[in-house]
Every structure is written in C-alpha cells, then in structure tokens.
C-alpha cells in the first residue's frame, strides 16, 4: 500500500521560518565570545567552572541546536519527503522558548540562582518537546533513504535523552539529592554530543556529502551499523551509570566515539574522491570539522584534557559545520524563493543573480579564516592554559567570525528582500 498521508513536495515552510533561526544563531556565539573574553581563564582551566558550563550551552543550544532546528524545519521535506506539520507557527514558538531558555540557563549556570535555572530548564523543556513532537510526526511519516531516516529518528531520541538528563541535572543543582552527579553530567554530555549532534551529522552527511560534491555513496559496512552502534553504546553507558559502574560507561561512550571517528575518516576519503573539482568554503568547513572530530577522538581515547576535547567539538564541529552549511543553504533558499515566484508569474524582466551573489565566496572564505584562527588559538589555549594571552585572542577571533557571519547573512537576506521588491514593482507595471 502506498502511504500518501502528509504527501507534499512544496518548499514548506516560508523562507522567514528557517531564516529566523539562522539569523539569531551568531548572536549566541558573540555572547559566548564575550563571556570567554571576560572569564576565559577559568573556562579553559576546568570544564566544571560556571563559565565553562555557560559557554558550552550558549554554543550548543544557542548556535548549534538553533541552526539545526531551522535547517530541519526546512530540509525534512527534501531529505525524507515529509514536512513538519504546522511548521509556520510551531517554528517561531519553538524558537522563542529555545532563545529564552538558553539565555536563562546560561545566566543560571554562570551566576547561580534557582529562578534562572528553573526558567531556563523549563523553557527549554517546553520548546524542545514541542519540536520533538512535530518532527516526530514528520519522521514517522517519512520515507526515502533508510539510513538517513534511521539516523534522524535516533538523533531525535538522542535529543530527548539529552533533555531529560538536563532537566534532572537542573533539579540536582536546585538541591534535589542525586548520587554521583558528575557521572550524570557525563551521560548528559554523551547523549548531547554523540546521540543528538553526532547522529544528526551521520544522517545529514549520508545525504549531503554525496549530493554537494558528487562523491560515491557511503559504504554499507559503515552506514548500516553506525547509528545502531552509537545507540547501543549510549544505552550501555546509561545502564552502567544507573548501576554506578563508571568503568563500563566509558566503554559505551568509547564505541560511539570510535564510530564517529571512522565516519570522519570515511567522509574525508569520500570527499577526496569527489567529482566536482572546486574547493568551496563548505568543503573547507567539512574538512576542518572532520579533522576536529578525529583529533577530539584521539585526545579523549588517550585520556587527554577534557577542555581540549570540548574546544575541538564545540568550536571545531559545533561552530564550523553549521557555518559551512549556512553558506550553501541561505543563498540557495534566497535564490530559490525568488526564482519560484518568477516562474509562477512567468515574468522574467527582473534579472536574478545566481546563488553566489547572495553571499560572496571571497568573504565566506575570510569568515572561514577567522573561524580557523579562533579554533587554533583556543585549541592551543586548552593545551597550555597557563599561556594567558591565547584565550582572549581566541575569544576575539570567535567574536569576529560570528560578527562577519552575521553580516554576510544579513546581506543575503537584504538582497533577497531587495530583489523581491523589484520583482513586485515590475509585476505592478
């Protein structure tokens, strides 16, 4: 039987929905950079410092999750042929809760305060639960590439676990007695980075790596078991934490880390075999993110500094990969919506510029350079925390990269609106 429920190939939702997420995201990196500039020493000295916790959430939720949610609202119809129901009004609702929750949580983690922590945890729980409900409906109806679908479904489960553990930890901070709190923090981190982010990179990567640069498909020996191994590893770690067996939990995390490291290696090899010759800024971001994954895995496996792993994962992957994707997605959507209107109205008198005119490649490369300098400075700062000038340098680079990203995004959107207006005027004549 054919399942035709929810069948629609429209480019749902309207462009303002994903753009609201994309445009808001760099603001949080800017905030994180400012916090790092102000409290940087403590942040890179120990992952348990209030500023390290606040920074992590500003980047992971404010930037990374924000971009990922915006992209999912946009891309699910393309990737799995099912759109998120009611996206046009659910998305802004989710975004308001995400933004409020992230800001309140960051304030609560940095300065303490039961009100901020409960407000942050509560708002995030509501916003993410609404998102998971809506995306869950789309994923249940979805079809197409089974590996992508499976990884996306498991990523959503990873987000759910991250959220539940996060709420538990907030309760712990508010005074509810929880034994072995640090083990639960590790578990929260594991589900967040491996279960939500890692799994989503897998799912999206299977589709977009071959698509963007025309590479062979990912080999079945990797794609078939990868998501399941990560899931089993995280479930094992969860069970071990519940039983209080710390040693066993590490094995669970280790298997998931291993899979992602292999995924990174295979991705680099796929991209080496690409047919499209040009090295665009998206490819540069993929390379630096995959190298960061590999380096982070090596540091973690050799029991290196957790702060170094944090920098590589949050800055190298968390800031880099979404930026690289935005440089393709935003110009494309701007162009697509304009050209769609032209074709629908059969009016071609306003000449439409091509994708690259919306975000100039040269400036995107400068942004990549700033990002890379920030990554390098902060990586070195995490290796040698006693070299005090490295952290502020990295923080400034990070803020500049965020500011430039924001500027390029606004330029893209302004261009879109300008041409849209010109088109309306020409139709009215």
């Amino acid at each position: 039987m054919l399942n035709t429920a929810g069948l629609s190939l429209d480019q749902a939702p309207p462009i303002r929905v994903p753009f609201a997420f994309f445009l808001a995201a760099p603001f949080f990196v800017f905030l994180a950079g400012a916090l790092l500039l102000w409290q940087g020493e403590a942040a890179l000295l120990t992952r348990w410092s209030p500023s390290a916790l606040a920074l992590t959430h500003l980047i992971a939720l404010g930037f990374l999750t924000q971009v990922m949610l915006g992209a999912l609202f946009q891309m699910l119809p393309v990737l799995i042929g099912a759109r998120v129901p009611g996206a046009a009004w659910i998305a802004p609702l989710v975004q308001v809760f995400l933004i409020l929750g992230t800001l309140a949580l960051a304030v609560g983690l940095q300065w303490g305060g039961a009100v901020w922590l409960s407000l942050g945890g509560g708002a995030l729980a509501v916003g993410l639960a609404v998102f998971m409900g809506a995306a869950g409906v789309a994923l249940a109806r979805g079809r197409g590439a089974p590996r992508t679908l499976q990884a996306m479904r498991l990523a959503l489960f990873g987000l759910l676990m991250t959220l539940l553990l996060g709420v538990l930890l907030v309760a712990g901070l508010l005074g509810v007695p929880i034994g072995g709190l640090t083990a639960w923090v590790d578990l929260h981190l594991g589900w967040a980075l491996l279960g939500w982010v890692g799994m989503l990179i897998l799912g999206v990567g299977y589709q977009v790596v071959p698509m963007f640069h025309v590479t062979p498909a990912y080999p079945a020996w990797l794609a078939r078991p990868a998501a399941w191994v990560i899931l089993s590893g995280l479930l094992l770690a969860t069970a071990a934490t519940l039983m209080g067996w710390g040693g066993l939990a590490v094995w669970g995390f280790g298997s998931a880390v291993g899979v992602l490291a292999i995924f990174a290696l295979v991705t680099l090899d796929q991209q080496r075999r690409r047919e499209r010759p040009r090295i665009d800024v998206t490819l540069l971001h993929w390379w630096s993110a995959m190298l960061s994954v590999l380096l982070a895995a090596v540091v973690w496996l050799s029991d290196g500094r957790a702060e170094l792993v944090g920098v590589l994962v949050l800055v190298g992957v968390g800031l880099g990969l979404p930026s690289g994707m935005l440089f393709k997605i935003m110009p494309f959507l701007s162009w697509f919506h304009l050209q769609h209107r032209q074709v629908a109205a059969r009016r071609f008198d306003v000449r439409l510029p091509h994708m690259q005119a919306f975000i100039p490649e040269r400036w995107a490369r400068v942004q990549f350079g700033l990002h890379l300098s920030a990554l390098l400075a902060l990586t070195l700062a995490a290796v040698w925390p006693e070299t005090v000038w490295l952290t502020p340098l990295g923080a400034l680079m990070m803020m500049s990269a965020a500011a430039l990203l924001s500027w390029l995004q606004l330029g893209c959107y302004r261009r879109h609106l300008q041409i849209g207006r010109r088109f309306l005027t020409s139709c009215a004549q």
Partner: protein
C-alpha cells in the same frame, strides 16, 4: 514491490550529476570548445530526462493516481526553473563568460539535488506502484547510452 522505474530514473539522475561535474571540470581547462561540448552534453541529457517525465511518466502516473497531481505540478514548476538556468548556461557559454558559467552550474546543481531527492523519495516509488505493467517500457526511455 518493484522498483524498476525508481532505479532507472535515479540512475539517470546520477548520469546527469556526472555530466555536471564534467562541465565544471571543463571550466578549469579554459578551452571553450571543450566547455561547449561538456555543457551541450549536460543540457541535452537533462532535457531528455525532463521530456520523458513530462510527456510519459507524469501523465500516466496522474491518470491512475489523482493524488499525484499536486506533487507533479511542483516537479514541473522546478523543471521550468531548471530549464531557465540551462538557457542561462547556454548563453554564458556563447559569451565565454566563465564566472557566470560557474555560478549557473552551482545554482543548477543545488536546485537539481533537492529536486531529485524529492522525486526519488516520493514520485518514483509511487510510479513503480501504479505503473507496474508499463515499468520496463518507461524505464527503457531513460536508459539510453548510460
């Protein structure tokens, strides 16, 4: 369930991907005879693919499954978008404008990828279900030299 149509048309999509990559590669050579040939190969293969879909596959599918007519309309409007880009490409090659060629190919590539993904996920499996007895005949129309 049979997947003869899905496989043949997906295969033809990949053939178009390879031709696009080849056209991009030809731009680096700077030889306009080579660039012209590569673009021509891309344009004619893509147009042939559209023709088979618009003249045979889509009308036959729509006559059996009315529910398919909305997605088909969306697909055809994207075909129109892609045709407009291909005509831009032809113009840019005639004017030997390398930057525009590159810009058009990049835009065309992105548009095509998201378009193909939707066809492969939704429309072709539907066609395989609806047009079981004609599948081999229709698939034969895109299985030319590739």
């Amino acid at each position: 369930m049979s997947s003869i149509i899905t496989e043949a048309f997906t295969h033809d999509h990949h053939a178009c991907d390879h031709l696009l990559a080849a056209a991009e590669k030809s731009l680096t050579s700077g030889d306009w005879a080579v660039i012209g040939q590569a673009s021509e190969a891309l344009i004619s293969t893509v147009n042939h693919h559209f023709d088979v879909e618009e003249q045979t596959l889509f009308p036959r599918l729509a006559s059996i499954y009315r529910v398919a007519s909305n997605p088909i309309e969306v697909m055809c409007s994207e075909h129109a978008q892609m045709r407009a880009l291909l005509s831009d490409l032809g113009e840019a090659v005639a004017q030997r404008d390398r930057d525009t060629c590159q810009g058009v190919l990049e835009t065309f590539h992105f548009l095509t990828q998201q378009h193909n993904s939707k066809e492969e996920i939704v429309l072709y499996p539907m066609a395989d279900g609806a047009l079981r007895d004609q599948a081999t005949e229709i698939a034969g129309l895109v299985a030319r030299e590739s």
